[in-house]
């Protein structure tokens, strides 16, 4: 029986446990004068029995899968002759590897050490035994615990409390998974970055003005100086994000003001969803729109004006990214503007203020914390955006503030560093982790500031 079948059988057993647990509570209810005299509803008795059956079975299965291989390997090693067992850890690992290979039939049958041959046969038989034992252990465990749970069903049993506690723990576990994953990612990026900083100085990385991530394999190799100064990347990122925000913030905010303060209900019902369609376009589509339509247009128009525009420019990427971000800004701002109480508007109108005075002096200040929050969220999005920049802004790490030149960003460099076959001990690959770490720190700081700003204004306004 393979693992998936085993899981299905366990599930069936659990369902059965629910039915008989519930049945037992019903028959007990009949003895004590109705369901009202049970501590909990029959559903909870069923659930509790099912949990008693399913959880131990699942736990046994998981434990078995985790400890299965190490124990089998230890047993195989034990069966090897004395002089082989004396080998060091890594050599023993190699030995086990070859035993595995023989067992899988990958090695030529000729010239194989008879000890290893014997070991591989033992490995196969142990695996088979383990698989069968697993089925027996899991099913028996589920059955035994299920019967135990069934036997506990009594009118006094606080089944509802116990079931709800179990589910509360399950919810807690799920929220922990997100946190643990984040922590894991941060730690892995951090450790790889530390490895990178062992070869390249931290200050060279942070303050270096030259980015050319090639490492020499041989001393006499040409064009492999290996410069890891990240400043051009950060300048490129800032340049493109700034252009994007220059497009997105005014447009998005004004669109939001129009929609929430001026537009009639019917127009709003049409325009708002249409605007939000922009957010649903995949970034790669924006990317080729930027690379194939906007960038050449800017270059041609620049040529007409006598400007020297490169065919991949920060301007093109920034403009398209700005358009992409408009719905973020407008949608979030629209929500916060709508949340400003009507009584404030009435108060302003009641003093003879016009609509625009009311918007500028009352509505916008009241909605400001939410708007700032929305804008900073959009900035995070702009900094992290990759696809548009890869396609439209180029790969050349120019240190420039001229939006008509080609620049590159942190995210783009991470992509190019990790695409293709890479060895993981080269600073070239490891620098991607260092860049990732920097990006993470910047975004975290930005979010922190956003929260801080929002909280400060909120204290003032509510």
């Amino acid at each position: 029986m393979d693992t998936s079948t085993l899981l299905a059988v366990t599930a069936a057993l659990t369902a059965l446990a629910y039915v008989i647990g519930r049945g037992r509570s019903l028959s007990q209810a009949a003895n004590v004068g109705g369901i009202r005299n049970l501590n909990s509803l029959p559903f909870y008795y069923g659930m509790l029995t099912a949990l008693w059956c399913g959880l131990p079975a699942l736990a046994l299965l998981i434990l078995w899968v985790i400890f299965d291989e190490p124990i089998i390997h230890a047993l195989v090693i034990d069966s090897l002759p004395e002089q082989m067992r004396q080998l060091s850890g890594s050599e023993l690992g190699l030995l086990i590897n070859s035993v595995e290979n023989i067992a899988a039939g990958n090695s030529a049958a000729m010239g194989v050490d008879p000890h290893l041959q014997a070991a591989s046969e033992r490995l196969i038989s142990l695996r088979e035994a383990s698989r069968q034992a697993l089925v027996v252990v899991v099913l028996c465990g589920g059955l035994l615990f299920g019967i135990f749970g069934w036997a506990r069903v009594r009118p006094q049993l606080k089944a509802r409390v116990q079931v709800e506690t179990t589910f509360k723990l399950a919810l807690l576990l799920c929220s922990c998974i997100a946190i643990v994953t984040t922590l894991g990612i941060v730690l892995s990026v951090l450790f790889e970055s530390l490895r990178f900083f062992q070869t390249v100085s931290f200050f060279d990385f942070i303050f270096g003005l030259d980015w050319s991530p090639q490492m020499a394999i041989r001393a006499d190799q040409v064009g492999s100086s290996g410069a890891f100064g990240a400043v051009p990347l950060f300048v490129g990122t800032l340049l493109i994000s700034a252009i994007a925000m220059l497009v997105a913030v005014p447009t998005g905010l004004m669109a939001a003001i129009y929609l929430s303060e001026y537009a009639g209900r019917r127009l709003r019902a049409v325009v708002k969803p249409l605007l939000e369609v922009l957010a649903g376009i995949p970034t790669v589509v924006y990317g080729f729109f930027a690379a194939l339509t906007v960038a050449p247009m800017i270059r041609d128009n620049g040529a007409v004006l006598g400007l020297d525009v490169s065919s991949e420019s920060a301007l093109a990427a920034g403009l398209v990214m700005g358009v992409m971000i408009i719905p973020f800004v407008s949608s979030l701002s629209d929500d916060v503007i709508n949340a400003v109480p009507q009584s404030l508007r009435d108060g302003s109108f009641g003093l003879g203020a016009t609509r625009s005075e009311t918007i500028r002096q009352v509505v916008i200040p009241a909605a400001l914390p939410g708007i700032v929050g929305g804008v900073l969220l959009a900035v995070s999005r702009a900094i992290g955006e990759t696809m548009i920049v890869v396609m439209a802004a180029g790969l050349a790490a120019n240190l420039t503030a001229n939006p008509l030149e080609s620049v590159t960003t942190v995210t783009v460099q991470i992509v190019t560093l990790l695409v293709g076959d890479q060895e993981f001990d080269s600073p070239k690959t490891l620098s991607a982790f260092a860049l990732g770490l920097m990006l993470f720190v910047v975004t975290l700081t930005l979010n922190y500031i956003a929260l801080h700003v929002v909280r400060k204004y909120r204290e003032q306004y509510e």
């Binding site: 009584s343 009435d346 108060g347 003093l351 203020a353 003032q460 509510e462």
Partner: protein, 291 residues
């Protein structure tokens, strides 16, 4: 409370019959409003006013005057249209979709619903204080300075300071806030916020102040302060106040208008309304038989 009205009516079918007769009469002519709805040389004169929200008519053929420097209170059960009528007096209903108004409403002989009339100066002349205190999310100073600034009433900072101080003094708030004018108006207590809103309104020197249940969100002490304030303000301003509290109407106003189901039933001197009302519906209301 509307439900209460209905119940009362159901319990006494003969009353329903009475009211039906009265309603029909009123629908024909405004003269059915008993008491003395009109005064000589009125500040505001309303004639045959109907207000509709979409299909629903909220005000039926109301005619009355508001005299200069008098305090008129408007009472009646919930949903009787008194707030709607009040909001019609400075066109606050303009912001409500589907609301339209028929009839003639004049401020010193000028039609306030004239399509050519600019609503901004109108609202500067007819200010409004709302049910819930609604200070702007600005400092106390900026709250009061808001009106004078948008209307360009003062040229110099010193003059603005003076307007702010005078307004706060007249609203009886100056002594409590003079040391913290830069702090947000939203940080004040409910009663202080409402007096701030009154200060904000009088800072633009309106001629008429409309108050829509200004004390309903306040405790009795704050209410007493506002009522004193209304008495003082009536020396310089014309005030129309909608209130749920009959005691309040009796304390602050010189004339009282009783609204019922969108119709103006009776307007009379306050003392007469509360001691010897002419109309039986008024009597039923003030003796607590409905609402």
């Amino acid at each position: 409370m509307e439900a209460t009205v209905r119940e009362t009516v159901e319990q006494k079918p003969e009353r329903l019959l009475d009211r039906q007769v009265i309603d029909d009469q009123e629908a024909v002519t405004a003269a059915a409003t008993v008491g003395k709805p009109f005064v000589e040389a009125p500040k505001m004169a309303m004639r045959n006013v109907n207000v509709f929200y979409g299909e629903k008519q909220a005000i039926f053929d109301v005619s009355m005057d508001i005299g200069s420097n008098e305090v008129v209170s408007m009472i009646g059960p919930s949903g009787c249209g008194k707030s709607t009528f009040l909001r019609a007096l400075n066109r606050m209903n303009d912001t409500i979709e589907g609301c339209w108004i028929e009839g003639s409403l004049q401020l010193e002989g000028q039609d306030i619903y004239d399509p050519k009339l600019d609503v901004v100066p109108l609202r500067a002349r007819v200010g409004m204080v709302f049910q819930k205190p609604n200070p702007f999310p600005k400092s106390i100073y900026d709250n009061v300075a808001y009106g004078p600034r948008i209307h360009g009433l003062v040229d110099r900072r010193a003059d603005l300071d003076e307007v702010v101080e005078t307004s706060l003094q007249r609203a009886g708030l100056w002594n409590e806030v003079k040391d913290r004018l830069a702090q947000p108006g939203t940080g004040l207590s409910g009663g202080q916020q409402q007096r701030l809103c009154i200060a904000r309104t009088i800072a633009v020197s309106p001629e008429v102040i409309l108050m829509d249940e200004p004390c309903s969100a306040l405790d009795p002490i704050a209410t007493a302060k506002i009522e004193e304030l209304i008495a003082e303000l009536s020396e310089n301003f014309t005030i129309a106040i909608v209130t749920h509290s009959m005691q309040q109407a009796a304390r602050v106003s010189s004339r009282t208008a009783y609204f019922h189901l969108g119709k103006l039933i009776e307007v009379n001197d306050t003392e007469k309304v509360f001691t010897n009302p002419e109309h039986e519906l008024t009597e039923a209301y003030i003796t607590g038989r409905f609402g």
